[in-house]
């Protein structure tokens, strides 16, 4: 879902919007024609701590889904499915509201270090 230009009124063809475009190519009035296209903008790199799901503990109450400010808890068929790490900012609210402590927050740095270490082991 790359933002594109439907180009009403002022010429040009359908093209992905980028800051390289000239004024003729951008959408009229700065209108955005794809609802919810911020999904293609990643905020996951804001995160310093990462929520990690403990499948065994989860009772699929979806309280975490309800309270995530970034719609970053993906549910399928009314059940917890996964975290959307592309957008999750690591606020820690989900871990806090989970009634059964099925979400733990880990430091991204720590995770990186461990991943690095396990890579080196191989």
């Amino acid at each position: 879902m790359t933002p594109f230009n439907r180009n009403f009124g002022q010429g040009g063809t359908r093209k992905a919007i980028s800051p390289d475009m000239n004024w003729r190519e951008l959408t009229k009035a700065g209108n955005i024609y794809e609802p919810g296209n911020s999904a293609s903008y990643e905020t996951g790199d804001w995160r310093t701590i990462r929520p990690v799901w403990n499948k065994d503990r989860c009772i699929h109450c979806l309280i975490c889904w309800r309270y995530c400010p970034d719609a970053s808890i993906i549910s399928t068929d009314g059940k917890f499915d996964s975290f959307d790490y592309k957008h999750c900012k690591g606020c820690g609210i989900c871990a806090k509201v989970c009634p059964v402590h099925a979400i733990d927050m880990f430091s991204e740095d720590e995770i990186d270090r461990q991943e690095e270490a396990s890579k080196n082991e191989k």
Binding site: A39, Y67, D70, A71, G78, K89, C91
Partner: protein, 314 residues
Amino acid sequence: MATLKELAKVEERFVGGHRLCAGCGHGISVRMVLNAAEDANVVVGCATGCLEVASTIYPYTAWNCSFIHSAFENAGATISGVEAAYKSLKKQGKIDKDFKFVAFGGDGGTYDIGFQSLSGAMERGHNIVYVCLDNEAYMNTGIQRSSATPMGADTTTSPAGKVVPGKQQPRKDLTAIMAAHNIPYAAQTAISNWQDVHRKAKKAFDVEGPAFINILSPCPRGWRYNTPDIVELVKKAVETRFWPMYEVENGKWKLNYKPKKYVPIEEFLKPQGRFRHLFAPGNEHVIKAIQKEVDERWLALLERCGETPELPPK
């Protein structure tokens, strides 16, 4: 009441990729409110403020529905225009789909600069929902006091200094003022009780005519509390009776929740950096004044709601 399992199947109207701070209350409030519109067509209006500038940074929008922002002080008037267009076009058979209309404004855009525009929209009886996301200050411009800022709060225009201990005035009671417009529905709610938010939002969407909802929507940056604790903190706002949950439907006041015991206001104030100075020696009188205001407002509210005006047992 729908279960979360059912509600999670409703299409998300405020998606990720917006640029609100991590843990911002606005993200939670907006998601809850729009979720209650279920599968209706919705047009969202929005006042300038954190929500708007973080959710529509060109060429990205977090709004998975039609959206309009025009300025700071006119979300009420702008959404009235949208609704009037809908009425006119529908009446003339130029469109056939049904729509719901909701405008979001911060406390600055609602209690203060947008107050006139909101009052006008409510008085004219448009079929709209107006939601105030009250984080008790102008956060977008860097935490300045508004008329929703609680007494004693340290903001950048009511800084806690050597002689003045934060904001000097009590909060404006906007929800009551909106109820005084004799609109079909006015309510105050808090995200700590998602069922309450959901029920009120749904009711607001369903009633014929204008509806107003005031949601306490904490800002971790401006309030300076531990970000993950948002729900706990809002719960304290409700338990201390600082932020009562009530609704006024067709003129009838109804209290939705009554705390079992007396929780002193300190419990709400203490976790927040904006009130830290109040706990320094010499500022006890400010906390006392806040408590007095809370108690008095609570008693008045009970009376309006036809309840016995008494404080919870200590």
